[in-house]
């Protein structure tokens, strides 16, 4: 277990350095003045602002020293300041709860939709539920999430007035229902498919045939013998998708005007606020990597076979 943990943590380091380095490289090593690029081009800056940005990003040092100093600051929770002097760390801290609430709500909805649909289809293989499942998965796999988002805003927000169109004024359940539902539908398809295939495969395996031959009731075989094993691949997939949800859904947060991390990133891009773009995206990268790491470390606890792999 210790060796597995150690290997997994060591594997994360190149990805971590690689991805943050990529972001940093793109912003600071492209030909041209990084200060004007951070400010988004033609904006006029006072000499003192320029000086403070040069100091903040250590632009007078050699490139690798700049990067190392920035990463060192990030690891200590310091993401720098934007052009108005606001701390990017504070910005991240205010935005984070919205993203986490959205991700958790979407995760629960997705779990219920995906697993129920998959199991239902798997039990009634080749019949109506199975066909419905196929239709559902293809439809939501194909149609982009933002189209579903705009469509539901129109139907449930503008026409029916059931839910707020955007923003967070309505508070937790109401304001998050639509964005979480769209995220859940958009990502439930692979889950529904995986649950179905996995259940069908398990029901065909030898030990289920043995159990049937011994005269155990179909219900007991289903609930006691089949489901637990069928859900092993599903749990792996769920873990990875949880990391992806936490990594932020920039598009959905923007469309529903949620002040989460993704929405903050999109607004910073829109207002060409370079330091916020760099800070928030590096934070999201780290957040995603750590979430993926935690999931991987939890997995051997659920499935003991992984420990020996």
């Amino acid at each position: 277990m210790l060796r597995y943990t150690l290997r997994r943590v060591l594997l994360m380091i190149p990805t971590l350095i690689g991805s943050t380095f990529l972001v940093y490289l793109l912003v600071f090593l492209i030909p041209g003045d990084p200060v004007t690029r951070l400010a988004g081009g033609e904006k006029r800056l006072s000499d003192s602002t320029i000086a403070s940005i040069r100091e903040q990003y250590n632009l007078d040092d050699p490139f690798f020293v700049q990067y190392a100093k920035y990463l060192w600051g990030v690891l200590h929770g310091d993401f720098g300041h934007d052009f108005n002097g606001n701390s990017v760390s504070t910005l991240i801290a205010t935005a984070l709860p919205y993203t986490v609430v959205l991700a958790l709500t979407a995760f629960v909805l997705k779990l219920v939709i995906g697993v129920c649909l998959g199991v239902w289809a798997g039990l009634r293989q080749g019949r109506l539920p199975d066909k419905f499942n196929l239709f559902f998965t293809i439809f939501f796999l194909a149609v982009p999430g933002f189209i579903i988002a705009y469509f539901s805003q129109y139907v449930f927000g503008i026409k029916l007035h059931w839910l707020p169109i955007s923003g967070v004024q309505a508070g937790f359940p109401l304001a998050f229902v639509m964005p979480a539902m769209v995220l859940a539908l958009e990502t439930a398809s692979p889950l529904a498919r995986l649950s179905r295939t996995s259940l069908v495969d398990t029901m065909r395996s030898d030990y289920i045939v043995t159990a049937t031959a011994k005269g155990i009731s179909p219900q007991r075989i289903m609930w006691v013998h089949a489901l637990r094993n069928a859900f092993m691949p599903v749990v792996t997939y769920l873990g990875l998708s949880m990391a992806a949800l936490l990594g932020g859904s920039v598009l959905i947060e923007t469309i529903f005007n949620l002040p989460g991390l993704g929405g903050t990133l999109a607004r910073a891009i829109d207002t060409q606020n370079g330091p916020v773009v760099v800070g928030v995206s590096i934070f999201l990268l780290l957040f995603y990597l750590v979430a993926a790491l935690v999931v991987d470390l939890l997995y051997p606890i659920i499935d003991p076979r992984v420990r020996h792999a």
Binding site: P14, V143, I147, Y154, G248, S281, L285, L289
Partner: protein, 296 residues
């Protein structure tokens, strides 16, 4: 494995001649609908003048956001331009992003996956490690940051960023598929007969391992088109005066335009949704026809 109960002879008889799977494609009505949609959109992209005689840049501000009327099936956009001709001319860019991304990823995945899967060793380690690093990065955020750095963006900028993050997943499929084929008896027989490694790879391994890659590539065209639109909505995609469904959706989404004139959002979203759906149905049908193991 229930398959093992049938004798090899009956199995062979049931399988029939090779490629018979492809013929079953034509029997499915879903495949027909998908194929028709793709052909129509492709024609729009290649010959927009077949579908409209109105210049998409011939605009009349006084007609801004007006609804459909005779001769102007989809009404007018914010600038008062005919919306139908805008949609027709937008097909090319949207389709270009999807098709170029899928095609370039296909080539990279084919070459890298075959090399990694067939030769193994150091080649495999380098290619697999690179793809693992890329798969570890959340695509949406990374592509946003990269696109933000480009002051002017063309179709190729978008394609470059999408390819950068999409080849790794398809490469993995190709690699594992090559690794399965590599050890089959007929490959060993070819090796025993003294056929060189490149010839084996080119004429024996790849043709038998490429099916999952073709399916993946078809499925990914729609994702590329959706990403183009997503980038435009977030302000890091293509911009006017280019035509694309993504730009039209983005313009409609700004300042609550579509809440006043929902059709501005509806038409490009409908075209984009139908096209991405068509590519997924096409990919799924191909999978069913070419890969009998996945048919359950």
């Amino acid at each position: 494995m229930p398959e093992s109960t049938t004798s090899p002879q009956t199995a062979r008889a049931r399988r029939g001649r090779p490629r018979s799977g492809l013929r079953s494609l034509w029997k499915s009505p879903w495949f027909d609908i998908a194929a028709i949609i793709i052909v129509v959109v492709a024609l729009m992209a290649l010959f927009p003048s077949l579908f409209t005689h109105i210049d998409p840049r011939d605009c009349d501000l006084s007609k801004s956001r007006l609804g459909p009327e005779p001769g102007h099936l989809m009404g007018y956009d914010i600038q008062g331009c005919d919306y139908w001709s805008n949609i027709v001319y937008g097909a090319r860019t949207s389709l270009e992003v999807g098709v170029y991304t899928a095609a370039i990823s296909f080539v990279i995945a084919l070459v890298a996956g075959s090399l990694a899967g067939y030769f193994g060793g150091v080649v495999d380690s380098v290619i697999s490690w690179t793809s693992n690093v890329i798969l570890g990065i959340p695509v949406g955020i990374a592509s946003l940051v990269i696109l933000y750095q480009f002051r002017s963006r063309t179709v190729w900028t978008i394609v470059f960023v999408l390819v950068l993050f999409s080849w790794a997943a398809t490469m993995r499929y190709m690699r594992s598929s090559v690794m399965q084929v590599r050890n089959l008896e007929y490959i060993q027989a070819a090796r025993g007969l003294g056929v060189g490694p490149w010839r084996i790879l080119g004429s024996h391994v790849i043709p038998n391992a490429v099916t999952p890659l073709i399916v993946m590539t078809t499925l990914s065209v729609g994702a590329g088109m959706a990403a183009e639109a997503g980038f435009s909505i977030l302000g890091v995609g293509l911009k006017l005066p280019a035509f694309s469904w993504g730009i039209q959706i983005a313009l409609a989404s700004q300042d609550g335009n579509w809440q006043i004139a929902p059709l501005l959002m509806f038409f490009p979203a409908l075209m984009l949704g139908l096209t991405t759906l068509a590519f997924v149905v096409l990919g799924e049908s191909l999978r069913d026809a070419l890969d009998p193991k996945a048919r359950r």
